[in-house]
Each structure stands twice: as structure tokens, then as C-alpha cells.
């Protein structure tokens, strides 16, 4: 009996993994200019931490753009910015992208013109943390990984101080200018931070191919402002209130059927933190938040506007909160917590056709007062014994969704869209062990199960081109959750003279993978100009993701710094139906075995070399990125192959004084004409949206 009780307790503790302990203290640092940490870490999964210093040293105009420099993180480009991150082939809601450790934003745009990363500016961030795989469970359901965008927080000062910071940046090619200002300070009790930024970019041109460049309509204007105020109630308790807004105007997306006319996002949160509450209870963190997005898009900048006008107006509100208690018993860390989010989405599309001298207008909803509620309880545990470290976590989610949709789509007894309510209980858990073989070498094995419920788009969207192809997509209210069963094996080595390296291999088996299948035109017709048909989200039996990553960083002690990263993901679906299309007509179908998953980035590697001059005040850096062709493409989705390419960048970081930093450089030195595999096609053509050609940039940072 004792053994059974022991086993039960052990089981619980093992399941209850140390999510708190995982909380981003164990990281593998991105290969970049500033190497600040060792690669030998004790967690059995991969996490990457990017500091603000690294972000400031490059010409980043978009968080998603910057994320692409992280190993096995790619991005979907549809315009000049708002690049949507893809981690190990997982994308959209398969990734849990949060701000400030838990605040969530429901993107307003069904085409994902505004992924979470587009609602925050790089200058606002203090760090980015990326955890690959379903290992971090205290930020919400996680299937493919977590991206936490941590904005800068104010902090107390011993006596009253006030500081300021200003940044000016400029990029050639698209005549891009950005400014950012912040003011922060306070005393030991009350402290604050206020900031704002503005950026305006024009159209960029691709690199030269046969002496010719192509200019894309990618201009955008964005501005943001906000403030945070903190109050140190006692030495051990603090409250932090935050409010910010971000706005986009005339953001062009040549790879989408519409452009963003305006996007207005408001974010507010309140955090309470307490520490050293008792001998056992070390921390208590409580957060409540509300984010509100109003997104307006249309095709007024397209030629099609003359004959057919499309305007979509969407409101998305996410309200939620979380509480987490951190405990420590000897060398055991335990955390328990709960979180909740309520997502509300409502949107209308107005279509106006001007033909034969008459006008026809139709309004229909994209979402109709749709609501998703997700409540979760989670626990984490970690401990060390001898040369082993154990990490475990468990999470249970209760998910409800409903909508006021009136659409009924039933044909021949098949319910394509009917009952809108659904409820799920999802279990996620992970378990990992790290064996420290020597002071320099460790091996980690981790297994995980991450389950997430279908999102707003997958459940309720009605006829909009939101996929990688140009098809209109229809939601499916009766989708099931998808579950990622993953195993990671990681070897890490670190030596003061040789440097640090890691190799990771992973395998994901995603059950009930959410994909899409074509619907007959006799069932439903597309509503978007240029859409050849309609696809509906469906669960397919399974899909697999396999891949590896490699990273090497030379010792920090040397003036010469070398960094190498390499990664690949291989996505496959065992059985999929391919529809035969001849001259625009679907004439049959066939079953394909072992087809590639669409939108999986190819193998790529980057070599970076930097050298510290003038006692580290002047650091030139050159990087060379080599990307192979992607020939493992989806036959069923008619995905085209992508040629390989290589580009070289150069930058110079100069710390003029303690108050002035200058970063300058040139990206794509040789003006290579190329596009990433995940870049979307230009609407109305089969051509992909190319990446920018050569760009000279300079960033000036002033601080007092």
C-alpha cells in the first residue's frame, strides 16, 4: 500500500512539472552579437532568449521579422511587416504567443495582418523568449511552442530619479524611418515608464535579378504609446498597472486580397506580485488583462476596387487573468496556478459590386458574436538529484465556444456548418530528465503532450482567403482539438576554451491535425475575389514533424566571436486527398500517401563572425545565411518548390559613450533577389513576394 501511495505521489509530482522553474531562467542564447550566457542548461527542452541589446543592433522593423533569425523559427510574409512566426513548422494558434508573461491578444484580422507580434514594437521589448515544443504550460495551452514578448517594466529607485531614452532609425530601399522615446523613473515606492514610437516605411524593392528589381506595395505607418506605473506596497509586494495602444494605418499587403486600412489596439493589465510569503511559498503572481483590437481592411488600393469593393471590420477582445503560486521545499520547486481567457470576436464584411450601371451591396458576418472561453489549471515541479534533473508539468484546460452564427450548411445529410457550440477538456503534460554526464556535457530527454482547442478562425470564419493558398476558408464549429505528442533529445556541451554547442533532435506526432479540405462548389461558393474555391478546416488523422537544430557559440572571453546555427524541420502527412484540377475545374480526386505538409521551411544555416575592437566599444559583425531549396513540398496543396539562396549582412555597433550608441550596417550586401519558402504569393499571380534587396540602415540610441 505504501508503495502505491508513494507511486501515486510520485506520479503527481512528476506530472506536476516545474513550470515556474522553467520560467525562462534556463535558456539557450540566440547566436548574435552579444553572447551573454552558457549553452549548458538543465532544462530538457530548447528555449531561446533574445535580449534588447541584440534586437537594437539590427535593422528590425517588425518583431516577427526578427524572430526569423532564431534557429528553426521562420515567418510568413504577406507584406512589409507583420511577419507571422512559425516555429518548427507550427504556426498560428499552434504557437502560444503572449505578452508580458501571460497577456493575450486576439488578432483582429482573419488574414493575420496583425499577429500578436505585430501589436508590439521592438523598441518596447526587454526580451523575447521562445520555447520550442509543448513544454511551457503556465502561459496557456501550448502545442508547438511559446513565444513570450516581454516589454520593459519600470522598477523602483532608492531615491527619485528620472531617465530618458530616444532612438532614431533609418533604412534605405523603402525609405523607412522610425523614432522612439521613453521616459522612466520614480522612487522607492512609486515608479513609472512612459513611451511612444512612430514608424513610416515606403515600398521596398527586391534584389536585382537580370539587372531588374521589383517594387512591391508594402508601405505602412504605425505608431504606439503607453505607460506603466508601479507601486511597491512593501518590500515584498508590488502592483504594476499598464496601458498601451498601438495603431496601424494603411498597411499594405500585396499577398492578401485586402490591405489594412486601420488597426487600433488597446492593451491594459494589472499585475500583483508577492515574494517570500512563507518558508515554503516563495512567490505569488496575479495578472488580469484586457486587450481590444479593432481592425478595418479593404481593397481600396487595388484595381479591383472599381468593380468590386470589399470592406471588413472586425472587433476582437481578449479578457483574462492568471494566478500562480511558487513554492520551494529544499531543492524541489513546485508551482500551481490557474488562468482564464474570454475571447470575443465579431466582424462584418461589406461587398459592393458595380456592374451594368447598377450597384449591389451585401453585408455578411465573418464572425457573429463568437466567444471562446478557456480556463486552465496547471502545476509544475522540478528537482535535482545526483547528476540528474527532473522537470515535469501538467495542465488541464476546459474550453467552451459558441457563436450566434445563423449559417446552416447541410447537404445530402452532411453538416458542414450547423451546430456552433462545442466543449472540450484537454490534458497537456510533459516530463523530462537531464543527465549531467560531466561538467561540460549533458544529455536531456523530454516527452510532452500538448493539446489546444481550435481557434476562432478554424471554428467560425466565413469565406475569406486566410490560408497560404488563395482559397476562401470556412470554419468548422465541430473541429476537435489537436494534440502534439513530442519527444526531444538534446545534447549540450560547453567548454571555456572551445565554446558551447548543442544538438537537438525532435519528433512530433500530431493527432487530429487541423488542416483543410476543398468543399464542392455545389455546397458553397467563394465570396472573395480571386478565390478559386472554398476550403473548410477539418481534422486529419495525424501529421508528423521531425527535425534537428544545431548551435555553436565561441567563448565570450575572446575578441573574435563565432556563431553557427543550423536547423531543419520535415513535416509529413501520411494520407491526404488531392483534388485534380483541370482548367479551373475539379474533375476528380486521388489519395496521396506520405505527402509533405505545406509551409514547412527548408534547411538553413547561418555563420556569424564578430570582432571586438576598442575594448568592445566597436564591434563589426558579418553574417552569412545559407538556405537550401525546399523541394519537399505538398503535392495535395499544389505547393510550389522554392529555390535556395544565400545572403550576407554586415553591421557595426559602436558605443560612442555611455549615453550614445550607434548601430549601422547593410543587409543583403550583394542585393540578392530571393524569397523565403513561407512568403505568400502576390495576389493575382503565381509570383511569390520577394524579400527586400540591399538595405543600408543606421540606428542611433540616446539615453540619459
Amino acid at each position: 500500500m505504501k508503495k502505491k501511495i508513494y507511486l501515486f505521489i510520485s506520479c503527481f509530482l512528476l506530472l506536476a512539472v516545474g513550470t515556474r522553474a522553467q520560467h525562462l531562467t534556463d535558456t539557450i542564447v540566440l547566436g548574435g552579437v552579444v553572447i551573454t550566457d552558457t549553452l549548458i542548461k538543465k532544462t530538457p527542452f530548447l528555449s531561446t532568449q533574445v535580449s534588447k541589446e541584440i534586437m537594437q543592433s539590427v535593422s528590425t522593423r517588425d518583431v516577427g521579422d526578427y524572430l526569423r533569425s532564431i534557429p528553426n523559427v521562420a515567418g510568413i510574409r504577406k507584406g512589409g511587416g507583420a511577419i507571422d512566426p512559425v516555429v518548427r513548422g507550427f504556426k498560428f494558434s499552434q504557437l502560444n504567443v503572449v505578452m508580458d508573461g501571460g497577456m493575450k491578444i486576439e488578432n483582429g484580422c482573419p488574414n493575420r495582418m496583425d499577429p500578436v507580434s505585430a501589436h508590439v514594437e521592438v523598441e518596447e521589448l526587454s526580451q523575447i523568449n521562445v520555447v520550442k515544443g509543448p513544454f511551457l504550460l503556465n502561459y496557456g495551452p501550448s502545442l508547438g511552442g511559446v513565444i513570450d514578448l516581454q516589454t520593459k517594466d519600470p522598477h523602483p529607485y532608492a531615491k527619485f530619479e528620472i531617465h530618458g531614452n530616444a532612438m532614431f532609425g533609418y533604412e534605405t530601399n523603402w525609405d523607412g524611418a522610425k523614432e522612439y522615446f521613453s521616459l522612466y523613473g520614480g522612487n522607492s515606492k512609486v515608479y513609472f515608464r512612459a513611451s511612444g514610437g512612430y514608424r513610416k516605411y515606403g515600398n521596398y524593392s527586391s534584389g536585382k535579378a537580370d539587372g531588374e528589381t521589383t517594387t512591391y506595395n508594402t508601405s505602412f505607418t504605425k505608431y504606439n504609446y503607453g505607460a506603466k506605473a508601479g507601486w511597491a506596497i512593501t518590500d515584498k509586494q508590488t502592483i504594476l498597472a499598464a496601458y498601451s495602444e498601438s495603431h496601424g494605418r494603411d498597411v499594405m499587403f500585396p499577398a492578401l486580397t485586402m490591405d489594412e486600412k486601420s488597426d487600433d489596439t488597446r492593451m491594459m493589465s494589472l499585475d500583483y506580485s508577492a515574494k517570500d510569503i512563507s518558508e515554503v511559498i516563495k512567490t505569488l503572481d496575479v495578472k488580469i488583462y484586457r486587450t481590444n483590437v479593432n481592425h478595418l481592411m479593404d481593397n481600396s488600393n487595388r484595381e479591383t476596387w472599381q468593380a468590386k469593393q470589399m470592406v471588413a471590420d472586425v472587433d476582437a477582445i481578449n479578457t483574462g487573468g492568471k494566478a500562480i503560486l511558487g513554492m520551494k521545499i529544499k531543492n524541489q520547486n513546485l508551482s500551481v496556478g490557474m488562468d482564464f481567457e474570454n475571447i470575443y470576436k465579431d466582424g462584418i464584411r461589406t461587398m459592393t459590386m458595380l456592374m451594368m450601371g447598377t450597384t449591389s451591396t451585401k453585408r455578411f458576418n465573418l464572425w457573429n458574436k463568437a466567444v471562446i472561453q478557456n480556463g486552465g489549471v496547471f502545476a509544475g515541479y522540478n528537482t535535482s538529484f545526483k547528476t540528474f534533473k527532473l522537470d515535469a508539468a501538467i495542465r488541464v484546460d476546459f474550453n467552451n465556444a459558441d457563436s450566434e452564427d445563423t449559417l446552416k450548411l447541410i447537404k445530402n445529410g452532411v453538416e458542414y456548418f450547423n451546430e456552433t457550440a462545442s466543449q472540450f477538456v484537454n490534458l497537456s503534460a510533459n516530463l523530462g530528465i537531464t543527465h549531467k554526464i560531466s561538467e561540460k556535457l549533458s544529455v536531456s530527454l523530454a516527452i510532452a503532450r500538448g493539446t489546444r482547442s481550435p481557434n476562432m478562425l478554424e471554428r467560425y470564419i466565413k469565406l475569406l482567403s486566410v490560408g497560404y493558398d488563395n482559397y476562401d476558408y470556412l470554419g468548422n464549429p465541430q473541429l476537435k482539438p489537436e494534440t502534439n505528442n513530442e519527444v526531444d533529445l538534446t545534447v549540450k556541451y560547453s567548454d571555456l576554451k572551445l565554446g558551447s554547442m548543442y544538438v537537438n533532435g525532435f519528433y512530433s506526432y500530431v493527432k487530429d491535425y487541423i488542416s483543410a479540405k476543398m468543399l464542392p462548389s455545389s455546397v458553397i461558393m467563394p465570396a472573395t475575389l480571386g478565390a478559386p474555391g472554398v476550403k473548410q478546416y477539418v481534422n486529419v488523422d495525424n501529421a508528423t514533424f521531425t527535425g534537428f537544430e544545431f548551435g555553436y557559440t565561441s567563448p565570450q572571453a575572446y575578441k573574435l566571436g563565432v556563431n553557427v546555427i543550423a536547423a531543419i524541420t520535415y513535416g509529413m502527412i501520411p494520407t491526404v486527398t488531392k483534388y485534380i484540377i483541370k482548367a479551373g475545374q475539379v474533375t476528380g480526386d486521388t489519395v496521396i500517401k506520405n505527402d509533405a505538409l505545406p509551409e514547412i521551411p527548408p534547411f538553413e544555416t547561418t555563420l556569424s563572425v564578430n570582432y571586438q575592437l576598442l575594448h568592445g566599444k566597436l564591434v563589426p559583425k558579418v553574417s552569412y545565411r545559407l538556405v537550401s531549396a525546399q523541394k519537399h513540398v505538398s503535392d495535395a496543396f499544389y505547393e510550389p518548390e522554392t529555390p535556395g539562396f544565400s545572403i550576407m549582412n554586415f553591421s557595426l555597433a559602436y558605443k560612442v559613450s555611455k549615453n550614445i550608441d550607434i548601430n549601422a550596417g547593410v543587409n543583403n550586401i550583394f542585393d540578392v533577389s530571393y524569397y523565403e519558402h513561407l512568403n505568400r504569393k502576390i495576389i493575382g499571380s503565381t509570383e511569390k513576394l520577394y524579400e527586400p534587396g540591399r538595405v543600408f540602415f543606421v540606428n542611433l540610441n540616446l539615453s540619459i
Partner: protein
């Protein structure tokens, strides 16, 4: 430690427990074939020559045809035992345009049960239920839009051309068929519309029997004899009806009634 490792293994097994295989659900027992339609357009039983004022209709109007566009829908294959197969698994409306070669062939997606079929029928145009505005948003079908104020939806047919009137003046005609309107007065004003008339009609193709064998594709040629729109049972006179008839229900009624023998079946291969 042993227990911990044991639990680790058990948990690992549990995590992957729901990984399972699913059987292929294809229906292997059904014997089916496929059909394909080819659309041919004639005038006076000879291949239509566009943009050539060489034809004379039953009313004696010299005319030429520049464009022919139309929808057929709800194609049904009839068997002698009274059963039928409605073609609708993928597409139930097909658009034909003599200027777009790809529309002149329709490779039907549906699996068709093998056996002997007596005849083929279809709706010329689109039924009321399906003929809704914004059903089509992309060219070429969207160009068939029928104004909402005149009933909405889409043209069933557009034959555009020109004729020489009684004074030998060449005038354009828009021989269009769609939803008709009934007006309160003799003055054709949209404000006086009090009812709409569905002008689609059923066409049963004569001599359209065929046999379908397993895994074979039967190609059926559907012929539109365009001059038949202007005769039997009614003589259609361009000089009388003028160029445009979208708002002339009596003219469209005549066209509808003339449509019964416009289509024939050609080669069945």
C-alpha cells in the same frame, strides 16, 4: 529513483496512448465510371462563325453573333427504371462561354454508377433557389450578374451580336435571358415592378441514351443550335423586340419557349 524512472516510462506510454491508426474508408465495392460533356455551338447546323453577318433568322433579320455565354445546371442522368443521378457532388452549375475553351469541356467529378441511361436533362439557367446575387464573385461567371433591381442573381444566357434592321442599319442586340419582371404599367420603370418571373426551363435532350462501363469515361457532346432561339414555336423578330430584352418579359417568355429544341446531343463516345 527507481520509482521515478518507472513513472517516467509509464507516463511516456500514457502520453502516446492515443496515437492510433485509422483505416482507409474508401468505398471499394461500388462500380462507377465518369462522364464528360463537350459543348458545341452551331447556326443552321453548321459551326458558328463569330462576327460574320452571314446569318438570317426566321423573321428575315440578317444577323451576326459575337458572344455566347450561358449556364446549365442540375444535369440529371435518367435510367429506364425511373431512377436518376443528379450531378451535384462537386459542381451543379456549369458556365459555357464560346470564347473560353476551358468552359467548352466539363469533366464531371461525380462517380456515376455503371449501366444504361435513357436520357440526359438539365436546367437551362439557374433555379430560383440557387440564383442568388453574390453567388459568383469571380470572372467569368460574375460578369453574368443580373441587376438586383431586375430580380438579382445572374443572366441565364447572353447572346450578343448585331442585326440589320428594316432600313439596313446595323444595330446591336443583347439577347439576354434571366429573371423577368412584371410592371404595373406599360412604362418600363423599376419602381413599377410588382413581381418577378423565373425564366429558367428544363431541357430534356433527345437521343441522349448511353451506357457507362466501369472505370470508363463517356463523353457526351451537347450542341446548341443558336438559330433555334429565333424560331419554333415563335418567330423572334429583332426589329420588333429591339436590342435589349432584359426588361421585356414577353420577349423573354418567347425565348424561354423557343428553347425547347435548341439543344441536341451530338457524338457520344
Amino acid at each position: 529513483m527507481k520509482y521515478a524512472l518507472f513513472v517516467l516510462i509509464i507516463l511516456g506510454a500514457l502520453l502516446f496512448l492515443d496515437i492510433s491508426c485509422k483505416n482507409d474508408t474508401h468505398d471499394a465495392g461500388k462500380t462507377t465510371g465518369h462522364i464528360s460533356f463537350n459543348f458545341t455551338h452551331l447556326v443552321d447546323w453548321l459551326p458558328l462563325e463569330k462576327d460574320n453577318m452571314k446569318y438570317i433568322n426566321a423573321a428575315g433579320n440578317p444577323y451576326e453573333i459575337n458572344q455566347v455565354m450561358y449556364f446549365i445546371s442540375d444535369v440529371t442522368l435518367h435510367k429506364s427504371d425511373g431512377t436518376s443521378k443528379l450531378i451535384s457532388e462537386w459542381t451543379d452549375i456549369h458556365y459555357v462561354d464560346i470564347d473560353i475553351p476551358s468552359t467548352l469541356t466539363w469533366d464531371v467529378y461525380d462517380d456515376i454508377a455503371t449501366g444504361a441511361y435513357d436520357s440526359v436533362s438539365f436546367i437551362f439557367g439557374i433555379t430560383k433557389e440557387k440564383n442568388q446575387s453574390f453567388r459568383f464573385v469571380n470572372p467569368p461567371e460574375v460578369n453574368m450578374m443580373w441587376p438586383d433591381i431586375l430580380g438579382g442573381g445572374y443572366h441565364y444566357m447572353m447572346i450578343n451580336g448585331s442585326w440589320k434592321d428594316s432600313e439596313n442599319v446595323i444595330k446591336s442586340f443583347a439577347f439576354h435571358l434571366g429573371i423577368g419582371q412584371l410592371y404595373k404599367s406599360n412604362v418600363i420603370e423599376v419602381d413599377s415592378i410588382y413581381a418577378f418571373v423565373q425564366n429558367y426551363f428544363n431541357v430534356k435532350l433527345p437521343n441522349s441514351s448511353f451506357t457507362l462501363e466501369e472505370n470508363k469515361t463517356r463523353t457526351i457532346e451537347i450542341i446548341m443550335n443558336a438559330d433555334s432561339w429565333f424560331k419554333t414555336p415563335h418567330i423572334y423578330d429583332h426589329n420588333y423586340w429591339g436590342g435589349a430584352i432584359m426588361q421585356k418579359q414577353p420577349a423573354m417568355q418567347m425565348v424561354k419557349e423557343n428553347g425547347f429544341d435548341v439543344f441536341r446531343v451530338g457524338a457520344i463516345q
